[in-house]
Homo-oligomer: 278 residues x 4
């Protein structure tokens, strides 16, 4: 491979990292199709009846994709300026995990569950998305969410404490005879209840336990307003901030519509909005 | 039918498309009643006990509505300037699907389930709503939602990836012996859990599986904040934008209350707000 | 009763309708306690074990409250300037329904379920709340919600159509053998699913049915963002509008904090905020 | 203990209350680790299989933490200027409840459930958080939530009334034969339904009951928008208010971006934003 000319390497780099060239776009599209097909194949193979009938065929499909992704992985290593850094990056590890289980299954025949790791391939689509036209929208959203990180963290910690307290409470009130056999299991019940999932696999039987459960439900139902409020306020603020981004060079007025080309107060031409507009 | 005078065609067109004339409004009201009645009839007929007792009567009702809607469909084709375009439009197809199953059931007697398609008739009410006074409100809402399409799309895709990963994880952790017989079924469980629906038809039995489930629940509980934030910010922005719609012709001040009649800065009369005000 | 002096009637009117006088406040407090106690008594009486042990005692309590509320009802009729209008008002009917079932149970001994109507007494608390200090907050909230009525109406109708379509679809896909015995029952399942309640009393068994259910769940999970967005935008707008309520009489600046007493730009005294401030 | 020098007491006070000194930070970190470890130990001990195998070891761990926390409690009492006030404060009571159950279990051997109270130790983490860098974020959030208290209270009360009415209704419609054995139990069902938890342990069997349940679900699904709207509007308002915090000393313009250093209208230097900026 190292015998190939640098221009050849350059061409591959363009195909893999390029998002504007026709070759790069065709590559991205083919890759998305390959990823989705291989994930669907992994899923279908886990269904007993399909495995029995089409198992051999799916085995071939799997090896086809594994070799394809292995080739892609090696090319990525080759065209990368710092191969080791790529190999240790998040997507480098995902790329590796996408192919390794199939090879291991040759050596360790019984490692069926290991093969499920290949479902992680679906994560690889994010990389393609990141390079595509959706980047700006996703970035905006990502930034707004990143800014709420600390507030959401405090909220999640508080919810966790509430869950531990409700779990301990129901353990005392209901006890092992009603299915609440331990505090961890009671906390599992509290999570099921506070998040309003409500499987019903464990549910309080005594009136007092039902009263505790009612409080847990109402708490879970009401506090969902908090993270929603935090995220909404941040996204709204980003919306408003975009209106204040541009200033009229003549009258210094802000508050222009994103698509305005002239100052609405004095008619002076406005600077173009940044590339991160919606 | 083609022998009828153009003025006759014009009159029918007014009745069908008109929303301001008394005849048009009466037609819309009758159509809504007919649609709802026929949908209720289809529903009742699917109840075993009602079918056995009132089946014949409902059969007659069904044919009455089918002939009525067939007539309406033909008149729509007739008064339309471009009948083919109507026939291939969304509502044209819905109109056709509303009557065809009944005719088919004459030829293919056993096609009971086919008749359920007639429940799609309920979609026809949207057309009448579109022509009515609710148009402006629905439009505002529709526009705001349309603008969030890409952000919501990115979010939904991320949720799908999260669901696939949780589904694969629980499949490995719990396995077929606990009801997670395949990855697709495990993904079904993940959807039931992340959306906080929680049927409880499949639920994790092992402590590790319950830990994975807890993470899935908390994820689903927390990320609902994201689409809510996106939609709210967009609707709020539309609200605020309405304040900037009008400008004082004298001092060019914006920011007037929707019900303001004079500029709050210089007292000049303001233009009336557009018809799309709340 | 008509022999009593007008001043006596005036005094009762003050007690019943007054919210500022000590007598009026004491009356409100006593009424709230009486209402809550009587509702709790009705509830406890419905528990089999409590009814068997304390049934006679609760029967006495019930008659005490019934006579008390009957007296209150008659006094309200008496002090009201237009008794008939009161009797036909919402709260007039609730007041009557709060006492009538007990009298009927004397005549028709088996009418046990009828007695449950008395739980409606809890509605009477709203009247007292309306007259109390919470009025302004509740009013603000009520106004904001009232303004969203049409948008929420359109949304609810759309959700209903989505539910009917999902219900019909699952009926075709799963059929009576899997518990979906009729379209109405399938629609009940669709409501349970789209609202993310998820009892699990009926749940899809076939892979195709689970796919339909998955779509219904994701739909229900995502569209909750819409009413939330509508209500939030309206409440936010009311918040912002309150900042624009007051204008500086000197420099015409708006945007004053609700608790500001002087214009923050020129220091002129500001008019007091309206009584509907928070 | 009283024989120790005041400077010694001063040093302990610095360690316990200090958040800037290295000693204080080390103490906070160790305390968090100790609290979490002891809570995990309490949880594990409640699992039957772990208790049987590691019970003795966990008993030792428990006494280690109990003595540690007892020491901390006594030191807190000692360094506090007003020990009684601390002892009666919220965290004082939590600190006491964290250790007392272990001592009681020596005297009353069967008091197993009492030991669960020790899970309340997790509450103690909040005190450390309050003193840490997260204070400002948590404070902002806390203030915004505190301002919504009354509106949320009105909302919760309305939800409660709705729940009581739905509970009474379903009791009348379904009756004891379908699991709705009393009004309190029916109200428990209504809470499970309106909060969209949906265990499915009690669910309506008759068509009429399912119709009532459907209404309860749709109500619960729609009204979650209200608290979300209230909280979001308040958090958004706090966001916007932060923009109005600073005023240009020259032209009195407000509305400066949080990161602005000069007035965007006249270029005068702005005062630095307060420490509570995001």
């Amino acid at each position: 491979m190292s015998s190939q000319s640098p221009s050849q390497r350059e061409r591959w780099r363009h195909i893999i990292f390029g998002t504007d060239t026709p070759a790069g776009q065709r590559f991205d599209l083919l890759l998305i199709i390959a990823i989705l097909s291989s994930v669907v194949a992994v899923m279908l193979d886990s269904v007993q009846s399909i495995h029995q009938r089409y198992g051999d065929w799916l085995y071939g499909v799997e090896w086809f994709f594994t070799l394809l992704f292995t080739g892609e992985y090696l090319i990525r290593l080759w065209v990368s300026d710092r191969p080791l850094r790529y190999a240790r990056s998040f997507f480098g590890v995902v790329d590796l995990l996408s192919v390794v289980p199939t090879y291991i299954s040759l050596l360790v025949p019984g490692a069926n569950y290991l093969l499920t790791i290949r479902a992680l391939r679906v994560l690889r689509i994010f990389r393609i998305m990141k390079l595509a036209a959706l980047m700006s929208e996703a970035n905006q959203l990502g930034l707004a969410l990143a800014r709420t990180r600390r507030k959401i963290g405090i909220f999640m910690f508080s919810v966790l404490v509430v869950i531990i307290i409700f779990g301990s409470l129901i353990y005392v009130v209901e006890g092992p005879s009603n299915g609440f056999t331990s505090i961890p299991r009671s906390i599992y019940w509290a999570i099921v209840t506070v998040t309003t999932v409500g499987y019903g696999d464990i549910s309080p039987q005594t009136p007092l336990g039902q009263a505790v459960a009612s409080m847990a439900m109402i708490t879970g139902y009401a506090i969902i307003a908090v993270p929603t409020g935090i995220v909404t306020a941040e996204i709204s603020a980003a919306h408003i901030a975009r209106r204040y981004e541009r200033e009229c060079p003549n009258c210094h007025r802000h508050d222009h519509d994103p698509d305005a080309r002239f100052c609405k107060q004095c008619g002076t031409g406005l600077p173009k909005p940044g590339d991160d507009g919606s």
